[in-house]
């Protein structure tokens, strides 16, 4: 573990007499390795290590009897600071329907997470409706209908031959007629560098003016997480992230990367395929997981 590695480093360095600033630099190499192994983007890791070094050098680590513990404490604090607060709340509209737009790259878990959110919202006593705006993926609409049915929530669809903006507008109309509180809009997976598809989702956001635009990202995403987050946050008013598939053994460094590049909160984490497997984001738990 990182704690053991740092202990080893400091034991060896202590053997040579009092600790110097360059010894901190050496210890931080282990921190940088741990972050990179955890898929933290290498620039984010470098900036983070620079901040950690500043703090470590300034905090009498050099005089401490337990320098490795001090450094771990600083590392943990810096990670938690970057990961942000426990902000697992949805922003509701003053006049319904609240609109939540779900976006992300292919296969990240959007459709499944739409149903999870519907389930959560239902437990909070509100009525939601899913909107089938993925008109490309084979059987995407059917998939949304099936997962919606599993949580007792209807899916609004106009089929796959209608423009997504028209579908969305019609869904808003239907929501108003039926007194639906929340609309959860599923969209097709799209590459952040596919201009046509990014234009589509920008038009959708423009038409819907959603209260939430959530980027659904696979927690195992590697160095590319910064590219995905910055492109989506650049084109849209992303209000938060949902990290999925955290029930696996990925360290989840993508969490740090998306926070560093966008400043938007991670609102929820997906921890399984079933509708109840959505949890609030806990920064301290994520920090420990990233450090391994």
């Amino acid at each position: 573990s990182l704690t053991q590695k740092l202990q080893g480093v400091f034991q060896r360095l202590r053997g040579k007499g009092t600790l110097k600033e360059q010894d901190i630099t050496e210890a931080l190499r282990e921190v940088r390795l741990a972050l990179l192994e955890a898929d933290v983007n290498f620039r984010v890791a470098r900036d983070l290590c620079a901040r950690i070094k500043e703090k470590a050098v300034g905090q009498e680590v050099l005089e401490s009897l337990t320098p490795s513990q001090q450094v771990i404490k600083i590392v943990h604090e810096e990670l938690c600071a970057l990961l942000g607060e426990d902000e697992s709340r949805l922003q509701y509209a003053s006049r319904p329907p609240t609109v939540i737009l779900m976006v992300g790259v292919q296969g990240s878990g959007k459709t499944t997470t739409c149903a999870k959110l519907a389930h959560l919202i239902r437990r909070q006593g509100r009525r939601s409706m899913l909107v089938a705006c993925d008109i490309y993926r084979p059987a995407a609409i059917k998939q949304l209908e099936v997962v919606g049915a599993q949580v007792g929530v209807p899916a609004f669809t106009l089929g796959d031959r209608t423009d997504v903006v028209d579908i969305a507008r019609a869904a808003v109309e239907r929501a108003r007629e039926q007194g639906v509180d929340v609309l959860i809009v599923d969209t097709a997976g799209r590459l952040h560098v596919d201009q046509v598809m990014m234009d589509e989702v920008a038009r959708l956001e423009e038409a819907l003016q959603p209260q939430e635009a959530l980027l659904v990202l696979d927690a195992m995403t590697g160095q590319d997480a910064v590219n995905i987050a910055s492109e989506f946050a650049g084109r849209l008013n992303i209000t938060g992230f949902i990290l999925t598939k955290l029930d696996g053994d990925t360290r989840g460094g993508a969490a740090l990367s998306v926070r560093a590049v966008s400043g938007k909160p991670i609102k929820f984490v997906g921890v399984g395929e079933k509708p109840e497997m959505l949890e609030p984001f806990h920064p301290e738990r994520m920090a420990s997981r990233i450090l391994g």
Binding site: D39, Q106, G222, R251
Partner: protein, 279 residues
């Protein structure tokens, strides 16, 4: 480039190492490769940064080289390709692409809808079968996936199909019960064929980082994987993690997926892949 007699420009080597890390090669593999490059540079008297970069590309291409590409199908039909991997990597779509590719080679293909778990998974594969013009064997949702594969092999014999491609449900490699289910599907497939499964392909998502190594390790422990299909290489992710996987597990990379249409599949080319990391 040489700042002294036989001393290589460390700043440039750092840059190369950063490019590798940024491509998801992984910090330990990247450091090791750059170390090998440094040795090669000294031995071979490499002089320019361009030559240094080209030498690294050839180092990596050599590592990724494998004669076991692309597909090795038994001459006596039906051959079976079993497609596995974690959730959302691109298995179902890649099967449509493989079917299209094999059909283009004049092979008669039959799909087996053995993802009987995920919502609308069977529908998704059925639509692909129609689109690509191949037959499909399916049961109902919740059916035994092994039974679907068994039936598909029998149907292939009856209908004279050359290749069966079996889709399976996405599963995290850390779910022991789901990995046991997959082992059972594989055993039943072998029994149906009366010989080893021709290809057991692990589909990896190029945007995933170091976790792909854990995925490959776990799936390789459960099944006799024959190769990797690296999907979603049309984004900005470079898929460098396969260098570590090839190095540590010896698994050949067979195909690259470069889009969502049936023709967006190419046999893996180690030289092109390595060069693209530095493009």
């Amino acid at each position: 480039l040489f700042t002294g007699r036989g001393r290589v420009d460390e700043a440039f080597l750092d840059e190369l190492e950063e490019t590798l890390i940024e491509s998801d090669v992984g910090v330990h593999t990247a450091t090791r490769l750059v170390g090998e490059l440094r040795e090669a540079a000294r031995r071979e008297g490499i002089e320019t940064s361009e030559q240094l970069r080209d030498r690294l590309v050839s180092l990596m291409a050599g590592l990724l080289q494998d004669e076991r590409r692309p597909l090795r199908l038994a001459p006596e039909p039906p051959a079976l390709i079993l497609v596995v991997g974690v959730n959302g990597t691109g298995k179902t779509t890649s099967i449509a692409k493989l079917a299209y590719w094999l059909r283009g080679q004049g092979k008669k293909v039959l799909l087996a809808a053995a993802d009987t778990f995920r919502a609308a998974a069977i529908d998704q594969l059925e639509l692909w079968a129609q689109r690509v013009g191949v037959d499909i064997v399916r049961h109902h949702e919740g059916a035994d996936p092994a039974a679907v594969v068994y039936d598909a092999v029998q149907a292939a014999r009856a209908r004279g199909a050359d290749v069966v491609i079996a889709d399976t449900a996405g599963r995290l490699h850390t779910r022991v019960n789901l990995m046991e289910e997959l082992k059972k599907v594989h055993r039943v497939a072998e029994r149906a064929l009366g010989r080893p499964v021709d290809e057991v392909l692990l589909v990896l998502d190029a945007t995933v980082g170091q976790n792909s190594v854990s995925q490959a390790r776990h799936f390789a422990q459960a099944l006799p994987l024959t190769g990797i299909l690296l999907a979603k290489m049309d984004g900005t992710a470079r898929g460098g993690v396969i260098v570590t996987i090839k190095d540590e597990l010896g698994l050949p990379i067979k195909f690259i997926g470069t889009g969502e249409k049936p023709e967006k599949l190419a046999p893996f080319n180690p030289q092109e892949f390595a060069a693209a990391l530095f493009a």
